[in-house]
């Protein structure tokens, strides 16, 4: 177990380092001339040079990277060009808003999709199963803005049950906030539903077909007990791994959903930084998204290992 943890942690650190190199390369090397990229083709050469001087973009690439990465290690993510404040001061509140939305999406999505997958698995091959599977595939394939717009149209505009945007007024209580978050969370849920339900369904079918399930049935246990005590426990393990992978997707989905619902999260911040060509803020935001993903998958891997006795007792890598 300790060896597994150390190995996993080491890999995460290497991946993080490579991620920082890639993000740096794309944002600094790819534009060719950072000052020109930010100010556009009509800016004077003097102002471009001045901006490059201010950003330190006239130094060698290697010096720039070590300087930037050194700052990262001290918690310095750079300074926003348009707002002239440390990037982290903008990213922190945005990140916590995004977590709030992701949390609401998760508490709706995970039980719902597991339930869907379990029902489909129990009704394998019948119309209920086909219906859940096709609905899952269809919603998973639809871009978030398409589902989001249809949800807005139905629930916010035609029925008038929920607000159109996700930005509540200052000082709103938790319940009001939840109401505002419901539509964006539902949009994310619909996309995620298919993936999670699909894996749950597949592992349900496998577990139901296993020898231990048959034994349990044959020794006369009622099927509710077999499903609850024997099948579900084994079927849910792969689901955890899939849920973790979906977190990565969730962050990507957040960009579009936050833009659509005008919600001040990290996705909207990245979008606005890109629109305003605020490269330092954009770079910091993208890096933070990558770090969040790496941390979440690390936690999920550890959780999976803790829950899976084969890894816990070190018989498998």
């Amino acid at each position: 177990m300790t060896r597994f943890l150390l190995k996993r942690l080491g890999l995460a650190v290497i991946t993080l380092f490579l991620l920082s190199v890639i993000v740096f390369a794309v944002s600094t090397v790819l534009p060719g001339n950072v000052g020109r990229a930010v100010l556009g083709p009509f800016a004077t050469q003097e102002s471009v040079d001045a901006l490059n001087e201010q950003l330190g973009a006239n130094r060698s690439i290697f010096v720039q990277y070590t300087d930037w990465a050194g700052g990262l290690l001290h918690g310095d993510l750079g300074t926003s060009l348009t707002k002239q404040v440390p990037a982290w001061d903008l990213l922190r509140p945005a990140l916590s808003n995004s977590f709030k939305l992701a949390f609401v999406a998760f508490i709706i999505c995970v039980p719902l999709s597991i339930l869907g997958g379990v029902i489909a698995g129990l009704r394998y091959g019948r119309p209920t199963d086909k219906g859940i599977t096709i609905a899952g595939i269809s919603f998973a394939a639809m871009p978030e803005f398409v589902t989001g717009i249809i949800l807005i149209l139905v629930f916010a505009i035609w029925l008038g049950w929920l607000p159109v945007t996700a930005q509540w007024e200052e000082g709103a209580n938790v319940l009001t906030q939840f109401k505002y978050l419901l539509l964006p969370a539902l949009t994310l849920t619909l996309v995620l539903f298919g993936y999670i339900a699909r894996i749950t369904r597949a592992s349900m079918i496998e577990a139901l077909d296993s020898d231990y399930a048959r034994t349990a049935y044959l020794k006369g246990l009622p099927s509710s007990v077999v499903v609850r005590k024997h099948v579900l426990r084994n079927a849910l393990l792969p689901t955890i791994a899939v849920i973790a992978v979906q977190v990565g997707y969730l962050v990507g989905g957040l960009v579009v959903v936050e833009v659509l619902f005008n919600y001040q999260g990290i996705g909207l911040l990245i979008y606005e930084a890109a629109r305003q060509k605020d490269l330092p803020l954009l770079t910091a935001g993208v890096l933070v998204v990558g770090i969040v993903y790496l941390v979440v998958t690390l936690i999920a891997d550890i959780l999976y290992a803790v829950l899976n006795p084969r890894i816990r007792f070190g018989t498998a890598e």
């Binding site: 993000v23 944002s27 990507g252 790496l294």
Partner: protein
């Protein structure tokens, strides 16, 4: 279609066995109602993309100041937009960009991903280790975030830039799948035999292993195609994709969704068009996966 009509005779029995498996798969696919429905829908949009003039009742880019912002009615079944353009015609003509960019990007990604997967799976060792770590790092960023970063850095989002970006992001994803398949194949006798014969690595990869890992490649291609449509539409919606003068579903939504109340028809119909296309593509992809993985 001409590929089916002219089969070349092959002497090797192994080949004909492979062909039998292929026609069996094709038969299974053509028998499935989901594939037929999906293929019909895709065919319809392809037809619209190639001959927009034949299906659209009005000129999709013609402004008509006498009929601005009309809700759906008999002469304009989907209504008109703020410039008085017929939305029905614009929806019919709006599939072009997506049907050009998404398949091109998927093709590029599958091609590069297959090459990378063959290399890392066959050569293993340092090449594989380095590539795997890099792939992990790239994949820790969501596609849309990577795309926004690259588009901003390059300062350009023309058609081919979008194709290149999505293709390059797909490369590591495809290569992972292909690599896994190659690892399994590389242990088999025919690969060992080729090695002992002294065949060069490129020959072994291309002529021996590649034909045997085509199933996952085909599956990846169809599944990725769905994601590519997803990605192209999402990028265009947030204004980082192609901004065409010609009608485009996602661009129409980008332009009109803030007016959704009360002008819902300007947004809803292009949104439904995207929904119908992606569902069709994914129904086909799902059946392809089922048939190839059985």
């Amino acid at each position: 279609m001409s590929a089916v009509a002219s089969p070349t005779p092959s002497p090797a029995p192994v080949r004909s066995e492979a062909r039998a498996a292929r026609s069996e798969r094709l038969r299974l696919l053509l028998r499935s109602p989901t594939v037929l429905i999906g293929a019909t829908v895709i065919g319809f949009w392809l037809f619209c993309a190639i001959f927009p003039g034949l299906v659209a009742p009005y000129n999709p880019i013609f402004d008509n100041q006498f009929s601005t912002s009309e809700p759906p009615n008999w002469s304009h079944p989907f209504g008109t937009d703020t410039n008085g353009r017929d939305i029905f015609s614009r929806v019919l003509a709006g599939s072009r960009n997506i049907l050009l960019i998404a398949p091109a990007a998927t093709l590029l990604g599958t091609l590069l991903g297959t090459i990378l997967g063959l290399l890392t799976g066959y050569l293993r060792g340092v090449v594989d280790d380095v590539a795997s770590r890099l792939i992990d790092a790239v994949l820790s960023l969501p596609l849309i975030v990577t795309a926004i970063l690259i588009v901003t850095a390059v300062g350009n989002s023309s058609r081919w830039v979008v194709v290149l970006i999505i293709g390059l992001i797909f490369t590591p994803i495809v290569s992972r799948t292909v690599r896994a398949a190659v690892l399994a194949e590389a242990e088999l006798d025919y690969v060992q035999a080729a090695r002992l014969r002294g065949e060069r690595a490129p020959y072994t990869m291309y002529s021996e292993i590649l034909p045997n890992v085509m199933s996952p490649v085909v599956v990846e291609f169809t599944v990725r195609l769905g994601y590519a449509i997803f990605a192209v539409a999402s990028l265009t919606f947030i204004g980082f994709g192609v901004a065409p003068p010609s009608p485009d579903w996602a661009a129409q939504i980008n332009q009109y969704w803030t007016l959704i109340d009360p002008y819902w028809w300007m947004t809803l119909f292009p949104a439904l068009a995207i929904a119908i296309l992606v569902v069709a593509v994914n129904l086909v992809a799902d059946s392809v996966r089922e048939v190839y993985e059985r």
